[in-house]
Amino acid sequence: MAFFLLRRIATMLLTALCLTFIVFWLTNLAPNLEKLAKNQGNVRMTDEQVASFLQDRGYAQPLPLKYAQWLGVAPGWVIEGRDGTTRSRCNGALENGVLPEDARSFCGVLQGDWGYSTVFQDGVGSIIATRLGLTGKLMFWVMMVMVPGALIIGVLAGMREGSRTDRSLSTVSIITTATPEYVSGVVFIAVFASTAFGLRWFNGSATSAMENATFENFTLPVMTIALYGMGYIARMTRASMAEVMTAQYIRTARLKGVSFPNIVLKHALRNALIAPFTVIMLQFPWLLNGVVIVETLFNYKGFGWTLVQAAGNNDIELLLGVSVVSVFVVLITQLISDIGYVYLNPRISVS
């Protein structure tokens, strides 16, 4: 098991390196940098000025070197600019052009130095921590609603294939999966939060939920995300359950005298969960980015909302930070999913 974990973690790190490099390369493309220079300096800069601006701030270095510096495995640059100031990556503009005695020479993601967000005027690290916390709260409630709900619907529908319960539950699942969040969100707001139907049960905005989540302000965003995923997982569970229920060992159990509820719970459930489990774990990364729409719609300033802001404002460092976190969330959930799969399915062994 330990060997398995080590291997998985090693592959995970390698994947993370490759993916972050791709994101780094894309955010550091020439047009992006030009935009950055004009944004931070002067909109009417000449091409020459742009070049010297970028040169002075270390952007003109070769890409692999820049990536290594960002990562924190190469010493940060110290450049004497054409405008006379000496700047360094780790310590900003230097007076006298000399590095202080105690100055760090490495500053990158590995050292915990995630950079500075130009939009929020704050350290990327702290922004991500707060925003991820907020989205975490949202995700937690979504999972609490979605997973048990989906499993119950799936199992109820799948245990008697073709019955009336099955058909009605399947119809519901199909409808919810077929409705994207930007449709269901709008519909929910219109029905439950506007004067259109007079049912002003919930809040149409979830901004207040960031500090204090209540039933009123948090239900709509949670339901919007949960419903979409619920139908999908329920469909998977139903198919898997229906297949398991026709298996011979279920007949064995039935002819052994096991009662129907026990057949479902003790014999069928574990086998039926093997397939949907991977899908459920795949929902985590999807939630992380899929919340973009819902957070924007309900004005809930979480991780997805931050991503939109960073991308919209060409905030390179923040964008990079967000990507790194996303990559790790995806990889870690996949690791958990693999381990859980081994636990659920005794036929797979890792040692």
């Binding site: 002819l255 052994k256 005298g257 574990r270 086998n271 659920l344």
Partner: protein
Amino acid sequence: MTDSYDGPILEIDSLSISFFTRLREIPAVMDFSVKVMPGEAVGLVGESGCGKSTVALGVMQDLGKNGRIVGGSIKFKGRDLGAMSQDELRKIRGSEIAMIYQEPMASLNPAMKIGRQLMEVPMIHRGSSEKEAYARALQVVTDVKLPDPKRILDAYPHQLSGGQQQRIVIAMALMAEPSLLILDEPTTALDVTVEAAVVELVKELGKKYGTSMLFISHNLGLVLETCDRLCVMYSGEAVERGSIKDVFDEMQHPYTQALFQSIPLPGADKNARPLRAIPGNFPLPHERPNGCNFGPRCDYFEAGRCDAGDIKMFDVPGNERHATRCLRFKEIDWQAPMEAGDTTRKSEPGRVVLKMDNLKKYYEVAANALFGKRGDTKVVKANETLSFEARESETLAIVGESGCGKSTFAKVLMGLETATDGQILLDNRNIEATPIEKRDTQTIADVQMVFQNPFDTLNPSMTVGRQIIRALEVFGVGKNDAERRERMLELLDLVKLPRAFAERMPRQLSGGQKQRVGIARAFAGNARIVVADEPVSALDVSVQAAVTDLLMEIQREQKTTLLFISHDLSIVRYLSDRVMVMYLGHVVELGTTDQVFSPPYHPYTEALLSAVPIADTRVTKKHIVLEGDIPSAMNPPPGCPFQTRCRWKSQVADGLCEREVPPLRQLGDGHQVKCHLSDADLASMEPVIQIAAE
């Protein structure tokens, strides 16, 4: 419960079961009656689709959504099962009536430990505590003779071998000491020696617990060995019912007779006494004829009488509880000798076409299955020093149980794998290192194969004719499409299929017909060597004879060399000229059919012969049951491969068997045995199968 009850345990009275589809009602079982007395074992015999499994599920009242009992009654200990509520049924299932299934792997829950699955039974039915249930499970697992019961209880089903799984299924059925045990083809998925051990166990436990049994099988030999009475079914009806002795020796129904004539019993010979296949096909449930269902295929059919109306069961006078569903049973002379089929002359083997010399095939497998090549690899010796010759128009049978390397050998010969060492000479040309992509068309056309499962080997979306023409194109036969089409029709004639079948799709064909197409395809390029890998084992008994005879006939005409791979010794004895017995990749015995089937034997051959059930009451067999399972080829025992299960091992001094692989010894006339036993010991062996004088 009603333990004082002393009537029949199970009484099925004119039971009819139908399945309902959107289109029509399909009667699966009609007017079926049988009685099982306490402690009695009743066999239910018939071909696939005759409704025997439906009867079993009917007894369990578990026919699914579409099935329904439409007439008659099933009484268990005098109580009508059909009138019981679901709750009452659940109390009976597992505790009073238990069932053993065909595929042990599929009938055990893969995600639940064996112990849990066993303990469930007493916990449900007797309200036992977990501790009591565990103790009971431990005892029953010991009863079914599994080694290391504690470890087994803690294992998952996939960690056990097929034979062990079947023992667990049997243990599960016995957990609550049921009064009735239903066995649905319990050994079909197992190897012969394992089958023999399982059957032995079932018989023994039946006696120990006094359980009545309903034994469902298509194998008459097995029924003879296990049951007291039997009931022969044909197309949803019981056609004959009686004690084993009455039915086997004084059969009173033409179908029973035809069935016996189509299985290779000792004494049948492909030239002098060929098998008689039952003509025609099994009727589909909705196409059953009027009157007697067997009528259209029956030799004694009398128009106007046999097809007039429903036929009842008639008691056979003189015999106890012996009944037949035949109007003419009193008129037919049952003792008349079997009409001799066309006898043929034995064809003489010609020159050597195929020669194997010290052929070896090793596979390297990663010791760690999940993580590929890292770490050490293990070598699986699938074939070890295989040497033999095969001549023109000779049938060489290759016999052995699963994992003995017979399929690997076929793959190497076909070129699907290349040999690790040694040579294969086809007409003195080496072909062992040439994979099939690099072989020239002629070599490929020369060496062809007939596969085991005809249901999977035909492309479901191509017509039969098209598939054969495709083979002809590949082999470069014929100059243009018209010529190839002509040749295709000839091939259909050759395998005795109507020419109209060229336009049919595989799904419209029965199993036997599909296998004929497979044979036609193999012979498309005038194959000289045909490897037939268990060509009839997936077919019904009555069809087997026809397909076997067809193969023999084509062989006689085309002078083909037939390599017949099989585990069924009855059919091997019937059709082969020479036999090669394999065990764990080694050839343990090689000789002519007579040499191999009579002493001196290799100890493994001896056990194999003893394990094969023979459907003949005159035959007495020596009883040899092999302990344990076949060792894994990944981890073969040191020395002689068979030493772990050999009953003669003690005869060889100072553990030679455990140290050295025995040399191949010549016993004269080309009879070879790989064994350490001394000549005196070999000579002292007695024949396993003896036929009592009539």
